[in-house]
């Protein structure tokens, strides 16, 4: 039997969840034995080259590109996992959800204390993804099958959950590892 294929992506996140994946330490050698990576920042494969068994999503959706990538993952992955608070509930980027988008852009590009004089424009180019009205949890955009909470999720939790998932064994997640912070 061929190895299960994993894909990962970071949307509106800080890459902390990916760092936490690496935090499994020497178990990363076991991981390579256990699974094969496809599209992921871990191996720098940019586009899907085959159907994947498990897609791991870090971060919520704050712009049109995030939505595009997420939908692409849904199409190309059998199981989709939200990894971390941002993917699950928007996380810190969602702190802007109560602030009108106009105010956010003006603060960031026009009125902020670090804006260079004479350089005050709100970026608006066809090449740039459109910012969304608010940050959306991934499961409000596509169907998500599993949720692994944490900021970042503990490495042990990611390991236990992923191994159970690819091996098809029951998930007995330790209390100490399931945390929201």
């Amino acid at each position: 039997m061929s190895k299960p294929v994993i894909a990962t992506a970071s949307l509106a996140g800080c890459f902390g969840c990916h760092m936490s994946i690496l935090d499994i330490d020497e178990r990363i050698l076991d991981l390579i034995e256990l699974v094969e990576f496809n599209k992921s920042p871990v191996d720098d494969i940019k586009t899907f080259t085959k159907m994947c068994d498990v897609g791991i999503i870090e971060g919520g959706c704050c712009n049109s590109e995030n939505v595009h990538v997420l939908k692409d993952f849904r199409k190309n992955c059998g199981i989709l996992v939200s990894l971390g608070e941002c993917a699950i509930m928007g996380g810190l980027p969602a702190l802007r959800n109560g602030i009108p988008i106009k105010e956010c852009l003006e603060e960031a590009y026009l009125h902020g204390p670090t804006i260079e004089k004479g350089n005050k424009i709100i970026p608006n180019d066809d090449e740039l993804p459109m910012i969304l009205d608010r940050v959306y949890p991934c499961h409000e955009i596509v169907k998500i099958d599993y949720f692994i909470p944490g900021c970042p999720p503990r490495a042990d939790l990611i390991w236990d959950a992923l191994v159970s998932l690819v091996k098809g064994t029951p998930m007995n997640l330790a209390y100490e590892t399931v945390k929201y912070d």
């Binding site: 699950i88 509930m89 928007g90 996380g91 810190l92 608010r134 949890p137 900021c151 209390y175 929201y180």
Partner: protein, 243 residues
């Protein structure tokens, strides 16, 4: 006079005295009934309904129902676990609970209940309401994003001369806690500390004290909420760490 009575919780025979509420009577018998708004030593309110149990077939709040002879109480059933979980999930989506940036994280009772009920994600959509933060008082920050309106601060915190520091304003979905600004300007550090401890979530935070405990040593990092009650039943010497 209080008389001894017997009743059952999930088929286990328990004993208590009349005059106790179901939640306290259960605790005495080493059975934990989850709750958020209830506090030892403060008159019960029954506002959060997390302690909902079935008493003789009827859904009732364990914190406001006096225990009586022969009661048949259902507590840890599939149905009640799901009902309670729904309430907790509702509280999470109703406000703005950003656990990663909250000073109360790890010591938060709402979060601890979500851990106990193994909630990975709420089943309801997030509301992201616009709520105010009041940091105008010298010793306390009031963050309404996190308030669950349990009224514990209103009920439990009084100044030395018996005045209320906290009160409710408005009604319905606009209901909110207010702090008396003139009283708040002169409260002691101890009272501010107590107010932030009385708050089950991070809605009341004593200024300049955040993130004092390292991750791993906070109240609910290693053992679930309610485990002290359950532990007391198995080992009589275990000390209760009530609030």
């Amino acid at each position: 006079m209080n008389t001894a009575i017997t009743f059952t919780i999930d088929g286990t025979t328990c004993t208590a005295e009349t005059g106790m509420y179901v939640i306290g009577a259960a605790q005495k018998n080493g059975i934990y009934i989850p709750s958020l708004c209830n506090m030892d030593g403060v008159a019960p309110r029954g506002s959060c309904r997390v302690c909902t149990v079935r008493i003789n077939g009827k859904l009732m709040a364990a914190c406001t129902t006096p225990v009586s002879e022969g009661m048949k109480i259902e507590n840890d059933t599939e149905e009640l676990r799901d009902l309670r979980s729904q309430i907790i999930e509702t509280l999470f989506v109703e406000g703005n609970h950003f656990c990663p940036s909250c000073e109360k994280s790890g010591n938060c009772e709402l979060q601890a209940l979500a851990y106990r009920f193994k909630i990975m994600v709420p089943r309801y959509p997030y509301r992201f309401p616009v709520r105010e933060i009041d940091a105008s008082n010298p010793k306390l920050i009031k963050d309404h994003n996190r308030c669950i309106l349990c009224k514990r601060c209103v009920r439990a915190i009084k100044t030395k001369d018996g005045k209320n520091l906290f009160a409710f304003k408005n009604r319905g979905h606009k209901l909110a806690i207010i702090i008396d600004p003139s009283l708040a300007s002169s409260i002691t550090d101890e009272l501010a500390e107590r107010a932030s401890k009385v708050c089950p979530v991070g809605a009341l935070i004593k200024k300049e004290t955040g993130f004092a405990q390292p991750i791993g040593s906070r109240t609910y990092d290693r053992s679930p909420i309610g485990s002290t009650v359950e532990l007391a039943a198995t080992s009589p010497n275990a000390k209760e760490t009530a609030l």
